[in-house]
């Protein structure tokens, strides 16, 4: 018998990652070991036995994997696998597989699976990765920090020195000299309530003629600025600079878990974006800033090749933009004089969300503490012009939609902004709302926090549980669908050079941003950054952990592909865009992309069910 008699079965298996990585002989051998079974939906579950393990390959139909607690782990369709976790781990089968739609399943017996795994690295790697992904889906949040080098947790001192708030200053001083540290964290119960430093002992105790019997509570800094272990080193540095502190307690859920000092950070080598931000702050002319900004593409390139997470790259690039903006505002003020009232510089859209990439345009506005008179209005008009022109010269081109602080329309008092948001929220026309959605991703780059809080809190007050508004916003978020159908074409057009590719931004990242925004506004979440929004939504119980992890993974993967793609375009001297050409990726990546888009599709259905049901 020659192979052609089973051609349709070979063809199907050969179209699957990782079987397509096998040598033709191995593939043929594997296909001949298959067994075929049929599972009707009426039978409900696929009987799985520890004595008879197999790799199951869905040929047709639909299946669902649930864990011991009955929670959904995965949904499977044609070309998907199940049964591999217990094959790899040797553990007892704990998940169950439910039949959603009558289906035909090819099964590879355990010996054959093991044989293929040991014969082909790509093959075993694929299933090990899939297994790792499953494991993550089954209850983690800790596996987030893969890139430890640039995080605080890598250089903070764990086991921080702590003291109870009821103790006296003398005891604190003894503790500090005993452990040779320059600060001690003050606890009430398990919660961090303050910090006492060398400097405090000097200026608040000795200089005030107080002695060792002073209560710690009287001289400590209360409610100190804190960070989390996952905070990037460079972000911590920025915080220290902004708030002029040298000690940053590291906490998790309010409990101290570590301490970072400016010396710790100095000791760790100074990284490139940090250097760049330092240089930005030293510039005294716009020309200097323009020159510095020419390094941004190279910075992006270095970050991509250093394999930084896409989420971090977005935050780092946005921090550079923020620093440039702040410096421009300062330079403008040194030219025009002090501002006549408090104001905030607002960033919208990608800068607001901290997910800027190469070639971003500017989206900004200005929030004034009160209604300006004509002279004050003129001042802010000139300030905005200087900053926007400066940003344009630095490569952040003028917003095509004219959403910029230099446009008087987007330079308003707190009251006017509140009214504007109220008109978007309360009398929403779908179209107007669509153009307004970037305003809901706003962040203050400059100015007093409480002024910005006044605006943001009032906006969230308007949107929270506002069914009509949320339904319309959801409707807008459904306008663009992930390109699931694309993947069938993908194969056909593999060598076509005219294929435009997948729009990773508008068909991927943007939809996820939309989804996170809808949820965040529905629950009054203040975070703007999409991954942070998702994390907070999980903590609040708005979305379940599994969906959130899927969505966060999809977001990271699509953003990563987009950056990697732009990095390659940059290297090849092309203008970076958001289109991923089908020929540019391996079938493995295609498989993963398809999975990511599937998650986006599911999440879209999720918000539709949740927010559009009644309309």
């Amino acid at each position: 018998m020659d192979s052609s008699e089973l051609q349709p079965i070979f063809d199907f298996v050969n179209g699957l990652v990782p079987f397509n990585q096998l040598q033709p002989e191995s593939l043929e051998w594997a296909a001949r070991q298959l067994e075929i079974a049929y599972f009707p939906a009426a039978s409900h579950i696929v009987p799985l036995s520890d004595d008879d393990r197999r790799l199951y390959i869905v040929r047709s139909g639909a299946f669902e994997v649930r864990d011991k607690e009955g929670e959904l782990v995965d949904r499977l369709g044609e070309g998907d696998y199940f049964g591999y976790p217990s094959l790899l781990s040797g553990d007892e089968i704990s998940n169950s597989v439910k039949v959603l739609e009558d289906g035909l399943v090819y099964q590879l017996p355990e010996e054959c699976f093991s044989e293929l795994c040991s014969a082909n690295r790509e093959f075993s790697r694929f299933f090990n990765r899939a297994y790792a992904r499953r494991m993550r889906h089954e209850g983690r949040f800790k596996a987030r920090s893969m890139l430890t080098t640039s995080r605080l947790s890598s250089l903070m001192s764990s086991d921080p020195i702590t003291i109870d708030i009821d103790q006296l200053v003398g005891e604190a001083a003894r503790l500090m000299s005993q452990h040779r540290v320059s600060s001690v964290l003050v606890q009430e119960g398990e919660q961090l309530v303050g910090i006492l430093t060398d400097r405090d002992l000097r200026s608040r105790v000795l200089a005030e003629d107080k002695g060792p019997f002073t209560r710690i509570a009287d001289v400590m800094t209360t409610a100190p600025l804190t960070v989390e272990p996952e905070t990037l080193v460079f972000e911590a540095t920025v915080l220290m600079g902004e708030h002029n502190v040298h000690h940053l307690p590291v906490t998790r859920n309010g409990k101290p878990v570590g301490m970072v000092t400016s010396t710790d950070i100095l000791r760790s080598q100074s990284s490139q974006p940090l250097l760049m931000m330092g240089e930005i702050d030293r510039q005294t002319h716009i020309e200097g800033l323009v020159n510095l900004s020419k390094r941004i593409p190279m910075l992006l390139q270095n970050l991509i090749s250093a394999d930084a997470r896409a989420e971090e790259i977005g935050r780092i690039l946005t921090s550079v933009t923020d620093a440039l903006t702040r410096r421009l505002i300062e330079l403008a003020q040194s030219q025009l004089g002090e501002a006549p009232m408090d104001f905030c510089w607002l960033a919208f859209g990608s800068q607001g969300r901290q997910d800027q990439v190469a070639c971003s345009d500017q989206d900004n506005g200005m929030l004034l503490a009160r209604e300006p008179d004509s002279q004050e209005a003129e001042y802010f008009s000139q300030l905005a012009k200087i900053v926007c022109d400066g940003l344009d010269a630095c490569g952040y081109i003028y917003c095509p939609g004219d959403i910029m602080a230099m446009n008087p329309k987007w330079r308003m008092s707190l009251k006017e902004w509140q009214q504007r948001f109220s008109s978007w929220v309360n009398s929403p026309e779908p179209k107007a709302l669509m153009h307004a959605s970037i305003f809901f991703d706003m962040r203050a780059i400059y100015g007093p926090e409480r002024l910005f809080d006044g605006l943001q809190l009032s906006v969230l007050e308007l949107t929270r549980d506002n069914d009509i508004f949320l339904a319309l916003l959801t409707g807008n978020a459904m306008n663009s669908r992930p390109p699931l159908g694309f993947f069938r074409q993908f194969v056909l057009e593999r060598d076509g050079s005219e294929v435009k590719g997948i729009d990773l931004k508008h068909k991927g990242s943007a939809i996820i941003n939309d989804i996170a925004r809808v949820y965040a506004l529905s629950a009054g979440v203040r975070e703007i950054n999409t991954p942070k929004r998702i994390r907070q939504l999980v903590d609040l119980g708005v979305i379940n952990r599994k969906d959130a992890l899927n969505l966060a993974d999809a977001q990271e993967f699509i953003a990563h592909m987009r950056l990697a793609n732009q990095g390659r375009q940059f290297e090849e001297g092309q203008k970076p865009d958001n289109y991923l050409k089908p020929g540019a990726v391996s079938s493995l990546v295609r498989h993963q992309l398809k999975e990511a888009f599937k998650v986006v599709d599911d999440a879209q259905s999720g918000i539709r069910l949740r927010f559009m049901r009644a309309y």
């Binding site: 018998m1 052609s4 008699e5 079974a37 049929y38 047709s60 009558d102």
Partner: protein
């Protein structure tokens, strides 16, 4: 499908007696062994009964004139088809392939390497030993087999087989589903159960397609006895 247990038991007994009788009077040893092996199967529960799905490609539809070109078969054990046991054989005949080459893609040259019909039959029934035969539109395939046996050995034999087409016909009638012309073809029947489309047209893939269809039909009909399937 419900059935009256008493009648099923009776029908089982009748079939068993017939098979044993045929086996005892069969002059061809391998065929006698095959028939005897079937009688032993009657006591097995439906869920465990071993099957062999098979398909023949012929030069036409008339057993007395046309010839078998190729045979494909795949065993079914319990709930699974096992491809390790899949078998395909070309059969060398006396006449050329003629017009049907267009349908099957088999040309005379391939057939020179084929086995003689007798050897192919011996191999088929060796694989079928202890298994019920299954085919789509079984009467046609069976008539070619019995005709070949008569031609080779001069004996008449009756071979029981499960016909997935007849099962589908029955099921459609019972559920009062309308069916259109061609609705009982293998591909059309498979579609009803959400089974995938197999593009190639050869004896082995058709045998596999037929075997999968039977698995689907079994799960839909929940037969209490093999008798219900053989009817």
């Amino acid at each position: 499908m419900s059935s009256v247990p008493g009648l099923t038991a009776l029908a089982r007994w009748r079939l068993s007696r017939r098979l044993n009788h045929e086996a005892e009077h069969c002059a061809v040893p391998w065929l006698a062994a095959y028939l005897a092996s079937l009688a032993d199967l009657l006591s097995l529960p439906v869920s465990q009964m071993p099957l062999l799905a098979f398909d023949l490609e012929m030069t036409g539809l008339e057993p007395s004139v046309d010839e078998i070109l190729s045979i494909g078969a795949v065993p079914i054990d319990g709930p699974r088809l096992t491809l390790t046991g899949a078998w395909h054989s070309l059969v060398a005949g006396d006449t050329g392939v003629g017009q049907s080459a267009c349908i099957h893609g088999i040309v005379d040259q391939d057939l020179q390497q084929g086995t003689k019909l007798e050897r192919a039959l011996v191999e088929l029934f060796a694989r079928a030993k202890g298994r019920w035969l299954v085919a789509h539109h079984a009467p046609l395939d069976i008539s070619f087999l019995t005709h070949a046996i008569e031609h080779l050995y001069g004996i008449n034999v009756s071979l029981p087989a499960i016909d997935t087409m007849a099962l589908e016909h029955r099921r459609l009638q019972m559920t009062q589903q309308p069916w259109v012309e061609g609705g009982l073809r293998l591909a059309a029947c498979r579609q009803r159960y959400g089974l995938p489309l197999y593009p190639a047209h050869n004896a082995l893939m058709d045998a596999i397609g037929c075997g999968e269809l039977l698995l689907a039909q079994k799960s839909a009909m929940q037969p209490a006895s093999v008798i219900e399937l053989l009817q």
